[in-house]
Amino acid sequence: MNSLDNLRGVMRRDRVFDFMLKKTGLEVDLSHGTILYLENVTVSFDGFKAINDLNLYLDAGELRCIIGPNGAGKTTMMDIITGKTRPDRGSAFFGQNIDLLHLSEPEIAQAGIGRKFQKPTVFEFHTLFENLELSMAGDKRVWPTFRARLDGQQQDRIDDVLEIIGLQEDRKRYAGSLSHGQKQWLEIGMLLMQNPKLLLVDEPVAGMTHQEMERTAELLTSLAGEHTVVVVEHDMDFVRSIARKVTVLHQGSVLAEGSMDQVQNDPRVVEVYLGQ
């Protein structure tokens, strides 16, 4: 069965001899309008199937919310996309041409997938400006990093991003002194500095006040279009306020997909999740 799969992989008509192509440094090909393909992905930890035959497709430029009860496999799915966890089976393609399963985490980040962690993770002993500087897209090998100097254009870019996340007043502050909500924004700003095509945002409003939540909703909706944004969130009000298309995960696979109203009225969804 495995060898048959391999054969099919080689024989796919849109990707003839793709094993001869180089794996890194590719510009993502979005000619078909789909930015992410997860197909038949399965991961198990000690026999427990965290992801079970998952199929998920994302259109370029969309804002997708992913919801699901605890243990539905949301974070594991992000781990697979960003290269932290390797699936037992299945395939994961970024655009038409980049096979995510062959790349390491830094390579995937360089290819254009940015990820915000569940717990806000910023460089606490660096200023906001430095946080963004370090995240900036560019040559990140050791020697070029040692020799790197900021030019005017790059400084402008950092200032732009500081403005987008609304923290331009705080550029000289240490990231460790920010509030929880501000750290979340800074982390989103760090993702933006990487010029990603796809943003994976894990629980962006956890621990935020209502006002902060509204600003985050504005921020994320403004990013969609130019970027593809995937938001994993528990807070239903927040999801309702930004969602155009919602995917419900349950026990490691997709249970329902559609607009918020469709999903909410789906009896299966009500049963496993919303009705509880």
Binding site: E105, A109, F117, F125, R141, F146
Partner: protein
Amino acid sequence: MNILNPLKQDLGGQLFLAILVVAMLLVPALNLMLPEGNPFHISTYAITLLGKYLAFALLAIAVDLAWGYLGILSLGHGAFFALGGYAMGMYLMRQIGERGVYGDPLLPDFMVFLNWDALPWFWHGFDMFWFALLMVMLAPGLLAFVFGWLAFRSRVTGVYLSIITQALTYALMLAFFRNEMGFGGNNGLTDFKDIVGFNLQDDTTRIGLFVASALMLGAGYIACRAIIVSRLGRVAVAIRDAEDRTRFVGYRVEYVKLAIFTFSAVLAGIAGALYVPQVGIINPGEFSPLNSIEIVIWVAVGGRATLYGAAAGAIMVNYGKSYFTAALPEVWLFALGALFVLVTLFLPRGVIGLLKRGGSKA
């Protein structure tokens, strides 16, 4: 680029280097110009002691670069120090020539004693000073590179990494104790006569070694500063504080660690090479895990992640050690242990942290 650029906005570092330059000029002057009876005269013995402290300070800076800025708590830096020391020791052994006890023109005494009839292959080339200097950097650098490559690629971090660095230095100690290794067994290398033609017992040679140690300490400090103020240095701190984040931002964390760890090991090797001619011996005891832990204590006492704090800590603790081991030898280990406990409990940022806090209040 001006080589002093890395010192901008580093007041402590400027002060540290200024003191170092003054000491480098003043100490030899006080030794050479004043007669022995004068109260300000500095004896040659004291100069050698100071030179030894400076070599330790360089070693402490190397450890601080890896620990304070990159978050790698190495409990095996003594191994790199000792390897640099052995490389220098091998050069000094080859310089003895026919003046050894057995008078063999080629073989060092311990080889004659073991009835060896030829020089082992790895002793070739050490009759040349430049080759020895190369090995002083290459041997620890290569070991750190291979060790780091294996450890960082498998993402060994934290306590586990510290434990295997400790195992590394312990393994090397056991290996160097064996006579068959060809490094003099448990006696090590000693009985040195001269270095690049200068007699090691001469006062002027000792002053030269002191000045060389001071120069290397200054150069090492500036080199570490250059790394820290660069973007690479900021990436290092980022790795220390949030390794996963750094990886997902797109940096090859293992390569950054490997580069800085290897550089740190090379510095430690240079420190070892300065140490050996001043104390006149190198033996496997230098690989002892205890030594490596002591280095970490120096850095903790002085203050982590400042570099000059590490250097100051090394000098202070070693001065205390010289004093105590002479005055109250049985107390020293207890004092060292108590010092570490007290610093961890009350001075998490070391003596430098205390001074800084006092300074900002005033």
